[in-house]
């Protein structure tokens, strides 16, 4: 259940931003999770719901963008079909996306000066 440790790191990161802005209320977090990131999205949501209480994320929604895994040939740029041997043009294919564990954006309500 490393999803809890990921949420802990996420909340720590958001706290840094929120504490730098007095009175800010975190409303939404946008994260991006790749198919080959090793992160189970439903578990991540559960971990967030459990962990966010009494943190700056208590009132925040979590928006998760799931990114499919894409393997490409470096030479011909062909996208390999799912489950294929990861070689093309006699060379190893490259993962062109789908291992993301990223915080993209924080939305906060901040008091006007």
């Amino acid at each position: 259940m490393h999803e809890y440790s990921i949420i802990s790191a996420l909340v720590d990161r958001v706290e840094r931003e929120a504490h730098a802005r007095p009175g800010a209320i975190v409303r939404r977090l946008h994260v991006r999770i790749g198919e080959l990131a090793g992160v189970e999205i439903s578990l991540l949501r559960t971990a967030f719901e459990t962990f966010r209480e009494r943190t700056v994320c208590a009132a925040a929604e979590l928006t998760i963008a799931a990114v499919p895994a894409v393997w490409r040939c470096l030479r011909c740029d062909r996208e390999l079909p799912p489950g294929a041997v990861l070689r093309c043009c006699d060379r190893p294919a490259r993962l062109a996306g789908g291992d993301d564990i990223f915080l993209d954006r924080i939305e906060m309500e901040v008091p006007d000066v």
């Binding site: 490393h2 440790s5 931003e17 409303r27 090793g38 990861l86 564990i101 939305e107």
Partner: protein
């Protein structure tokens, strides 16, 4: 509904992240305020803190000429047994250190120590993986700079350990012949991260119906550069090839012996 910010109110426009987002100067009057929604683009790896510490460890390992290996695999896949055998065969050539991660007990570290390895335990409690912080803290109790080979025996688990960079030079995944030929297809994240798969317990092959080509085929669908060495910790078969692989991974010893010049960060 505003798709940009999800605020639901077109009057609440996201502000420019640099212009509208500066911290309020200390002591400035707040007065009566109307909250507005601000969007801060971060685009940062959520485990950036772990990854930064892992990079710090990696720099130290390279500078000290230590080959650090992150050894992962299921519980019971034979990680400790391979290290024991490795130490018995290479102990006179290499100074060999290890940390062993388990939820409880120091049994593995005791076994490694009995095989001549300078070993420490990282007890994770309920933690399912090691992270860079745990490895970093364990190093303070080990004469790690003197090691030629430093094995980080991760918690037995084919899922979580794959995600955490520990500063290793290479990831090695132990897969025992009793685990099933399609294991790599079931745990693609772990095997994709592997630089080497050690197929362990091959002394059991006469008693099993295992198709090694099926394992190789499964690996070729999850690892772009599949590399597998079949070993038996019991008979020693394949261990020489494993030692040769390790030898090839050794860092350039150019920086070895240089002083630990920069200040250590906070513990």
């Amino acid at each position: 509904m505003c798709e940009d910010c999800g605020c639901g109110d077109p009057a609440l426009v996201p502000v420019d992240p640099t212009g509208g987002f500066a911290p309020r100067p200390a002591g400035e009057a707040v007065g009566v305020s109307t909250p507005h929604l601000a969007a801060l683009d971060v685009h940062e790896h959520i485990l950036a803190g772990n990854n930064a510490l892992a990079s710090h460890l990696r720099a130290h390992f390279v500078e000290a000429g230590v080959l650090a290996i992150n050894l992962m695999g299921s519980p019971g896949s034979g990680k400790t047994a391979v290290l024991e055998r490795t130490a018995r065969l290479a102990g006179d050539r290499w100074r060999f250190g290890a940390v062993s991660g388990d939820l409880a007990t120091d049994h593995d570290a005791r076994r490694l120590a009995a095989a001549g390895i300078t070993a420490a335990t990282i007890t994770t409690g309920s933690g399912c993986h090691l992270d860079a912080r745990l490895v970093h803290d364990a190093l303070h109790d080990l004469p790690w700079r003197s090691f030629d080979l430093f094995a980080i025996e991760n918690v037995g688990n084919l899922v979580c350990p794959a995600i955490y960079d520990l500063g290793q030079a290479a990831n090695v995944v132990a897969l025992s012949v009793t685990e099933g030929e399609d294991k790599p297809l079931k745990y693609p994240v772990m095997f994709r991260k592997a630089d080497l798969v050690l197929l362990t317990k091959i002394d059991l092959l006469p008693h099993l119906e295992v198709d090694l080509d099926a394992i190789r085929d499964a690996l070729s669908r999850v690892m772009p550069e599949p590399r597998m060495i079949a070993v038996s910790a019991r008979t020693g078969e394949g261990i020489a090839e494993w030692l040769a692989w390790l030898e090839a991974q050794r860092p350039e010893a150019a920086g070895a012996g240089a002083s630990h010049a920069h200040a250590h960060g906070s513990r």
